[in-house]
Symmetry: C2
Subunit: 905 residues, 2 copies
C-alpha cells in the first residue's frame, strides 16, 4: 500500500519533493518538539496520481480519515462536533513556492450546527458566524470556482442596508443574514447546496488544491520559471488555532535576523486579537515584535527561544508565522527567509563567525546577482520630493543624474567641461559610443533590453533606460516631450533609475556603492568600518581561492583594461577593434571602401597603421604581464558608412528640389557614396560579410591589424614591458578559413620580427567559435588554433535563428510571456541548444588538440547561471565586461566550492 498521508511527526525538512516546502518544514518543527497544531500532509504523489487518472488514489480516503482521527485525538476535539468542534485548514504546498495556486481554505468543519458550538466555546456569537461566512466565501470562491465579486457584492449590500461601510460594524445577526445570501449564491451558481458534511468539505478542498496545480496562472508561472509540470503539489491539513479570541491572543510574522540590513536579533510584527488575514488586510497597525515581551512575557520567551533553535537548526535566517491562542504559542510555518543582497553577504559571514557554517557554505549563501545589486549606485530611498515623468525598460541598473543632452558630440564636450550628462536618444548606434562613455546614463525611447544602448550600457556598467516610448524624443530640436506635454530641453536636469526604469525630472540624490569603491581600491576592507564591505571582501577572497575557472575581461580601451585589472581580471579575453575605426578614423575607412585603385587603398591602410599600433601599445601597457586577446575587425564595412535609407532620401530630395544635397557633399560625392552603400548593402548584415569573410575579401586589412599588434608588442618589449598579445580570428565556419588567415598572419609576424632584429613576442593565434558550424567541426578547427573563444552572443543568434538587434521589437516579449524562455537566451546561456554546442566543441576541440585553451567571451561570461554551466563543461576561463568581473569571480568560486549549478529558485 502506498503511503499518501504523513502525519507531521513522520516527515522532515529534507522531504520537500514528497511533502512540499511547507509540509516538510512543519514536520521538522513538530519533531523538534516545537508547538505546531496537529496535522498531516498529503503527498505530491497523491496529487500526481489524481491528475493523471482524474480521480484520487483508492487508498487515499482511508488514510485521510486515519490522519484526521489522529488530529482529533491530539486536539481533543471532533470535526463537525456540535459542542466543541475541531476546525481545520487546508493549504497547498508545492516543492517550490508558486503564486497562482490555491493557497488556503480556513475554518473547515463549520456548518449550520457546529457554528453554534464554536459560538459557545469562544464565547463570541459574532466570531462564530463571521468564521462561518468566511468559510462559505473562501470555499465558494476557491473550491467551487464561483466569481469572488458575487460574494463581495452581497457583503456590500448588507453593509449598505445596515448603513455602514465597515465590516467591524456588522453584528452576529448581520453575518447570519449574509450567510443566507451566500448559501443562495452557492446554490444558484453550482446547482447544489453548500456541503454541511465536514468530511465532504475536506475532500472537496483537497481536490481543489490538487486541481489548482493546473490553473492557467500556475501553468504560466511554471513555464516561465522552468519548474517541471509534473511535480504536483502537497496538501497540508492542520487543526485551526485562533489568534482572534481575545486580547490574550494574537498573531505575528517574524525573522530571526533583520532581513533588510542583516543586523542580528529577532525582527517582526505582532497583532493582538487577530488572525493572519487581518495582518495582511492592515485593519489595525501592528506592534513591533519586542512589545510582545511586555504583553505576554512567557509567550515572548517561548517564541524567541524557538527562533534561536530554528536558526541553529537550519543554520540560516528563518522567517516564521505564529499564533497565540489564549496565551498558548503555536507555530504555523517556518522557512529559510528571503533577504536583501546586503543582508545575504553579512549574514553569511556572521554565520561563519558564529561557527554554524564554513566559508565554502557561506559562498553558497550569496549569489552573483546579489553582488551585482550591491554594485550599482542607487537613488536615496529617503528622497521624497521626486517627480516621476515616465517609465521605460530597466535596461541597465543603477542611478544616474545629469543634464539631458541629445547628441553624442555635445555629450563629450559637456562632460569634458565637467558637466554631468544623460545622453538622450531615440536609439543609439556605434557612433554614440564616445557619448555613452562620457554620459552618466543613457535614456532611449526605442529598443528593448537587448538594444544597442542596453547591451553596451550593461557592458559598461552604466545606467540605462531603453524603450521609454512614452517620451517623444526630438533630437533635432534638442528636447523630449513627456506624457502630459511636459517638455524637457537640452540642459535640463533629469534622474534615471536603471533598476526600476523610472525617469524623474530634476535631481534625485544618489547613494554611492561602497562595494564598488572597495573593488576600485578606494575603500580598504581592513580599515573600513562598513561591515558589508568586510563581508564582501572575505567572500571574494575565498571565491578566488576556490575557483578553477579563470576570469578575464572584455575591454578595448586602456581605461577599461585598467579598471578590469583593478576588478580582478586575469587578462583581456576580448579586445574588440571596431571602435578603433570610428570617430575621426571613419574618414579613412570611407577612403578605404571608396578607393578606386590599390594605391588609394594602401594609403588609407597605411594611415590607419600608426593609430592602430598606438591603440595596442596602450592596452598592452595597461595589461602588462597579462594576456590580451585581440579580435581582428568583425563588423560589416557598411556599418562605417551612412545608411542606405538616409542617402536615398538625400538624393531623392536633392533631385526633386534641384537644391544641393543636404549633407554638404557634392552631387558626385553623394552618388559615389550611394553606389558604395548599395554595393555593400545586405539583406541580413548579421549573416553577411563580417569577420574572417572581410579579412579574406578586403586584402590588406587583417595584415594591417596583425602588423599593428606585432609592432606594438615589440615596442612594449623594447620599453622593458611584458606584452602578451593573442590574435583572434572572428566568425570562422570552416577550418580552411582559419588556415588561410593564420598563414597570412604568421607571415606578417615573421616580417615584423625580422624588421626588428628578430625580437620575438610569443603571439598565439586562435579563433572565435560563434557559428554552429564552427562548433560542429571544432575537431578540425582545433588542429590549427591555439585557442578557442566561444562568442555565445552570436552563437545564440544563429543557433536560435534570431537577431539580437530585432528581437525586442516583436516576438521576444511574447516568448517570455508564453514561457518559451524563462529568461532571454542572450542573458543566460541556453543549455539545451547553445550549451550543447559549447559542450560538444569543448570536448572535440580538446580531444583534437590537448593544449587548446578554451574561453567564453560573450555576454554570458558574466552571467551567474551561465558561469556555472561553463565551469561544468570544462572551459578554462570566462571573459566579461569589467563591471561583471567580480560577479564572475564570485560565481566561479561558488561553482568550484559547492553545488553544481546555481540554485535559481
Amino acid at each position: 500500500m502506498t503511503k499518501y498521508v504523513y502525519d507531521f511527526v513522520e516527515g522532515d525538512k529534507n522531504q520537500k519533493d514528497l511533502l512540499g516546502g511547507k509540509g516538510a518544514n512543519l514536520a521538522e518543527m513538530t519533531n523538534l518538539g516545537i508547538p505546531v497544531p496537529a496535522g498531516f500532509t498529503i503527498t505530491t504523489e497523491a496529487c500526481k496520481e489524481y491528475l493523471n487518472s482524474g480521480s484520487e488514489p483508492a487508498e487515499l480516503r482511508s488514510q485521510v480519515v486515519a490522519g484526521l482521527a489522529k488530529i482529533e485525538k491530539t486536539m481533543g476535539k471532533k470535526l463537525g462536533d456540535q459542542d466543541d468542534p475541531l476546525l481545520i485548514s487546508v493549504r497547498s504546498g508545492a516543492k517550490f513556492s508558486m503564486p497562482g495556486m490555491m493557497e488556503t481554505v480556513l475554518n473547515i468543519g463549520l456548518n449550520d450546527r457546529s457554528v453554534e458550538g464554536i459560538a459557545r466555546q469562544s464565547g463570541s456569537e459574532r466570531f462564530a458566524w463571521d468564521s462561518y461566512r468566511r468559510l462559505l466565501q473562501m470555499f465558494g470562491r476557491t473550491v467551487l470556482s464561483i466569481e469572488g465579486k458575487l460574494f463581495d457584492e452581497a457583503l456590500e449590500k448588507v453593509k449598505s442596508e445596515r448603513g455602514t461601510t465597515a465590516d467591524l460594524d456588522l453584528t452576529a445577526d448581520d453575518f447570519k443574514d449574509l450567510i443566507g445570501r451566500y448559501k443562495l449564491i452557492i446554490r444558484e451558481q453550482t446547482g447544489a447546496d453548500f456541503p454541511q458534511d465536514p468530511r465532504e468539505q475536506l475532500n472537496k478542498a483537497i481536490h481543489a488544491v490538487f486541481d489548482s496545480w493546473n490553473t492557467e496562472r500556475a501553468v504560466l508561472y511554471r513555464r516561465q520559471e522552468r519548474i517541471p509540470a509534473d511535480l504536483g503539489t502537497a496538501v497540508n491539513v492542520m487543526a485551526m488555532v485562533f489568534g482572534n479570541v481575545g486580547m490574550d491572543s494574537g498573531t505575528g510574522v517574524a525573522f530571526t535576523r533583520d532581513p533588510g540590513s542583516g543586523d542580528t536579533g529577532e525582527y517582526g510584527d505582532y497583532l493582538q486579537n487577530a488572525q493572519g488575514e487581518d495582518v495582511v488586510a492592515g485593519i489595525r497597525n501592528t506592534l513591533p515584535l519586542h512589545d510582545l515581551e511586555r504583553l505576554d512575557k512567557k509567550s515572548y520567551e517561548d517564541l524567541t527561544g524557538i527562533m534561536q533553535r530554528l536558526e541553529q537548526h537550519y543554520r540560516d535566517l528563518c522567517d516564521i508565522e505564529f499564533t497565540i491562542e489564549r496565551g498558548k504559542l503555536w507555530m504555523l510555518q517556518t522557512r529559510v527567509g528571503k533577504r536583501t543582497a546586503g543582508a545575504a553577504f553579512r549574514i553569511a559571514t556572521q554565520l561563519v563567525d558564529e561557527g554554524l557554517i564554513d566559508m565554502d557554505e557561506a559562498l553558497q549563501r550569496v549569489t552573483g546577482a546579489q553582488l551585482m545589486m550591491l554594485m550599482f549606485p542607487q537613488f536615496d530611498a529617503a528622497a521624497t520630493d521626486t517627480t516621476l515623468i515616465a517609465r521605460g525598460m530597466n535596461a541597465s541598473p543603477g542611478a544616474a543624474v545629469g543634464k539631458a543632452v541629445f547628441d553624442s558630440h555635445r555629450a563629450v564636450d559637456w562632460a569634458a567641461r565637467g558637466e554631468k550628462v544623460i545622453l538622450v536618444r531615440k536609439e543609439t548606434n556605434p557612433d554614440d559610443l564616445n557619448g555613452m562613455i562620457a554620459a552618466e546614463g543613457i535614456l532611449t525611447s526605442r529598443g528593448g533590453k537587448t538594444s544597442h544602448a542596453a547591451v553596451v550600457a550593461r557592458g559598461m556598467g552604466k545606467t540605462c533606460i531603453s524603450g521609454a516610448d512614452e517620451l517623444d524624443v526630438d533630437v533635432t530640436a534638442g528636447q523630449f516631450t513627456a506624457p502630459g506635454g511636459l517638455v524637457v530641453r537640452e540642459g535640463d536636469v533629469i534622474s534615471i533609475d536603471g533598476t526600476s526604469g523610472a525617469v524623474f525630472l530634476g535631481e534625485v540624490p544618489v547613494v554611492p556603492s561602497p562595494v564598488v569603491q572597495y573593488f576600485e581600491g578606494t575603500i580598504d576592507p581592513d580599515t573600513s568600518d562598513d561591515p558589508l564591505v568586510k563581508s564582501v571582501h572575505r567572500l571574494m577572497v575565498h571565491a578566488d581561492e576556490a575557483r578553477r575557472l579563470g576570469v578575464e575581461a572584455n575591454a578595448d580601451t586602456p581605461e577599461d583594461a585598467a579598471r578590469a585589472r583593478r576588478f580582478g581580471a586575469g587578462g583581456i579575453g576580448l579586445c574588440r577593434t571596431e571602435h578603433m575605426f570610428l570617430g575621426d578614423r571613419r574618414k579613412l575607412v570611407e577612403r578605404l571602401i571608396l578607393a578606386d585603385t590599390d594605391d588609394e587603398k594602401d594609403s588609407a591602410l597605411q594611415a590607419l597603421l600608426p593609430m592602430q599600433r598606438q591603440d595596442f601599445i596602450e592596452i598592452l601597457e595597461a595589461m602588462d604581464g597579462l594576456t590580451v586577446t585581440i579580435r581582428l575587425l568583425d563588423p560589416p564595412l557598411h556599418e562605417f558608412l551612412p545608411s542606405l535609407e538616409s542617402l536615398s532620401v538625400e538624393r531623392a530630395v536633392a533631385q526633386a528640389t534641384g537644391k544641393p544635397p543636404a549633407s554638404g557633399r557634392s552631387t558626385e560625392e553623394l552618388d559615389k557614396l550611394y553606389d558604395a552603400v548599395v554595393r555593400l548593402h545586405e539583406q541580413n548584415p548579421m549573416l553577411g560579410m563580417r569577420g574572417v569573410r572581410l579579412g579574406l575579401v578586403v586584402e590588406g586589412l587583417f595584415p594591417l591589424q596583425v602588423r599593428a599588434i606585432s609592432e606594438a608588442a615589440i615596442a612594449r618589449k623594447k620599453a622593458g614591458g611584458d606584452p602578451r598579445p593573442q590574435i583572434m580570428i572572428p566568425l570562422i565556419g570552416a577550418v580552411q578559413e582559419l588556415e588561410i588567415t593564420r598563414e597570412e598572419a604568421e607571415q606578417v609576424l615573421g616580417q615584423v620580427r625580422s624588421e626588428n632584429g628578430g625580437i620575438h613576442v610569443e603571439t598565439p593565434i586562435g579563433t572565435m567559435i560563434e557559428l554552429p558550424r564552427a562548433a560542429l567541426t571544432a575537431g578540425q578547427i582545433a588542429q590549427v588554433a591555439e585557442f578557442f573563444s566561444f562568442g555565445t552572443n552570436d552563437l545564440t543568434q544563429t543557433t536560435w535563428g534570431f537577431s539580437r538587434d530585432d528581437v525586442e521589437a516583436a516576438f521576444f516579449t511574447r516568448y517570455l510571456d508564453l514561457g518559451i524562455f524563462g529568461v532571454s537566451p542572450f542573458e543566460t546561456v541556453d543549455r539545451d541548444g547553445v550549451g550543447a554546442l559549447v559542450k560538444m566543441a569543448t570536448e572535440t576541440g580538446r580531444a583534437a588538440n590537448p593544449k587548446l585553451e578554451i574561453g567564453v567571451c560573450g555576454e554570458h561570461g558574466g552571467d551567474p547561471e551561465s558561469v556555472h554551466f561553463f565551469n561544468a563543461v570544462g572551459v578554462d576561463y570566462v571573459s566579461c565586461s569589467p563591471f561583471r568581473v567580480p560577479v564572475a569571480r564570485l560565481e566561479a568560486g561558488r561553482a568550484s566550492s559547492g553545488v553544481v549549478g546555481s540554485d535559481t529558485r
Copy 2:
C-alpha cells in the same frame, strides 16, 4: 623493405591508390598481354615520403635502377647508349586526374652523344635533333621551372633568322643551333648545365613530378574538388616508342563506342607519321580511325581486337591512346572513357543487353546530373547565324526564346495572349513569381546563382541567366543596353542559354528534350523509336524498384502538383502558402497588418479564408490519395509591404516639394503605412519574426490557415476524394513553440470536424527542422511532432551564418575560388556541418519517437550528391522541385542499389 617500384607486370587496375589511375591501367593492359612499352610505376607512397621528409626514401634509387634494368632488358636497348639508346618518358599519374600537375617529360635519355645514335637508328637527323631540343625545352620548363616564353622566344628568333614562321621549315642544323641557345638559357637561369647524364635526367624528372603535387594550381584544384591533400601522385616511367619515324608509323586516340551519341562501334582519330603532341597541336588533319584499316590492316585488326577485349574486360566504354612504330602497335594508355549524358544512358543499357553488367550496375553508370542535362531544352548546336550580345551566370540551364518584357504583369498579359516572353529584370522578388511562371526564361542583371531569380527558376526548371552585369537594364524605360550600345526594347526577341550563360539577339532554334516529353507522358517509351528514351525508361523503372527513399515534390499550385505527380512524386513534401498571400490578396494582408481593432483584423482574416480553402481544395484534388504537407505561413509580414527605402523617399519628396505622394496614396495613408513598415522593420529579417513566431504573435493567422486546410480536406472527402493533408509548422527552435501551436491547431481541427458532422480526415502535424537548435533538441521536439522535415536551405544559412540573399554579392565567389567550399553548400549539403545536424536530429528524433516520419524539403532534396547522403543517414523521403523529381528518383535508386555516396570525380 618497402616496395616503391612496381613493374607494369606487377600491378592491376584496382591499385589506383598506390599506382595512380594511369599506372594501374597500364599494368592491367600489360597483364592482359596487350602490347604496352616496358615500364614501371613509382608509388604514391614514395611521393608522400618525399613530400613529408623533403628527400626520397632511401630504398627508392636502387629500385628505380632495377626497374630501369628490366625495361632495358625487355626493349633490348640501354639508356644513354651512344648507338641505339633507350629513351623513356616520365609522367605523373594520381588517383584522380588533376590539372595543374606536371604531366609529362618525353625523350629522357637524349644527350649530346645519344642524339647521334637516335639519328642513326631512325635514319633522320632532323627527327633526332628535334627530339633533343624538345627534351631540353620540356625539361627546362617543367623540371627546372624556367619560364616557357624564354624557349619560345629563342625558337621564334631562329625561325625569323631563317626567314620562316613554320617549325616544319627548320632543318637538323637549325635545331642544333637552337639547342645551343636552349643550353645557354638553362645555364643562365639555373647556374648549371643541362644534365648530360640520363640517370640524373630521370631522377630530376621524378622529383619534379613529386614536387608538382604541390603547385599552386594543383593545391587549389584539390581544395575545390575536395581531393585530400595527402594522396600524393605516382610516377610512370615507360620506354618511348615513336609514331613519327615514317609513314608506316603513326599515333591515335580512340573510343570503344561513340562517346557523343552512345552508338556502338569503334570511334577515333589517327595521324600518320606523328606523335601525340602533333595530334593535339592540330598541324595536320587527322583521319577517321577506320581509314587505318586501309593503311595498315594488321595494326587495325590488332587495335580493334584489343579495344573489344578492353571493353569486355572493363565492362564499359574505354578510351585509349596508341602509337604504331614501324607497323608495330603499342598501347600507351587506357581508361574508362568520358561520355555525354545521353551516351551514358544508352551505353548502360547496351551493356546490360550485351550481358556485361546487370541493371543494378547499369544504374551506377548514370547520374542524376546527366539526367538533368537531358531534361533541358537546348539551342540547336547546328545554328550558325547567332549574335551573342552578353554573358551572365548560367543560373538555371536550358534554352529559351521570347520577347523581352520588363514587367511581370505585362509578362503575364503577353503570355496570356500567346506570346513567348523572356522576363528581364534587374533582379526579381516574390512579386515577380507570376511573371516568372508566365515567362519562357528569366534574365537579370544582378544577383548570382543563389539569387531569388536563380533559385526560383531552378526550382521551376526554367531557364535563367542571372547577374548579366554587362547589361544596363532600365525597367522604367522598358529596355536594356548591351555592351557596344546595342539597345534591346520591350518586344524585341532574345534567346538565352541558361546552360552557358549566353544572351543572343533574335531567335536561336531550340531542340526540345524527348526525355521531358517521356516524363510528361507525351512520348510512350514502348512505342517510341528513340533509343535514349527507351534507355532512360528502363533505368528509371529499375531505380524506382531499387530505392528505399521516397521522393516527393515541393509544389504550391495545382499545376505544379499535377506535374510533380506525372514526374513520379509520391506526394507533396512542401506546399508553401506564401504565394497565396500575394497578388490581389496582398491588399488583404495589408489590411490585416494595418488593422487598428480586432474586428478589422478578423474581417481581413475572414476574407482570406475562402481563398485559402479553394487553394487547398485544388491542390488536394491534384494529389488525391497522396500526402500534401502544407507549411503554414513563413515569411516576415513586411515582405508583403513596400520597402522602407521606397516609402521614405516618397514621403521625403512629397514633403520637400509640397506635392501629393507619388503612389497616389493620401498623405495619411502613406504615413500609416510608413509607420507600420518602420514598426515591422528588421535589421536581419532572415533572423526575425518569421514562421512560428508570426503564428504566436499574429493571433488568428495560423488558425485561419488550419481551418482552410481542414475545410478543404472535408470538402474533398465529401466529394468522394481521398485527401491526405499534413500540417507543417515552420521555424521551430524550441519544443514549447510546437506544443502551443499544435494545441491551437488541434482545437481548430476539432471545431471544423464537429461543424461538419464529425467527418474525420487524418491530419498529422509536424515541423520543419531548419534551425540548429531544432536539430540539437530534436529528441524533445520529436515527442510532439508526427513528422520532421529538414529545411536544409535555412539550416545551411544559420549553421554557416550566412544568408542566401546576400552571399553572391560579396565573399561567396571568393570562397569558391579559395576552395573553402568545393561547391556552394546551398547546392550540395555540407556533410560536416549541416549534415552532422541532420544525422544527429534523425537519430535522436527517431529514438524519441519511433513512428516519426522524416523528410528533407530543402533544395538539396533534388541534388544528386545530397540524395545519397540523406539515404545514408536514414531519412524516409526527399522532397524537391517537380523538375528534379526524376533526378531524385534516379539517385535514390542508385543509392540503394549500389555504392554508398555517388562518385563525383
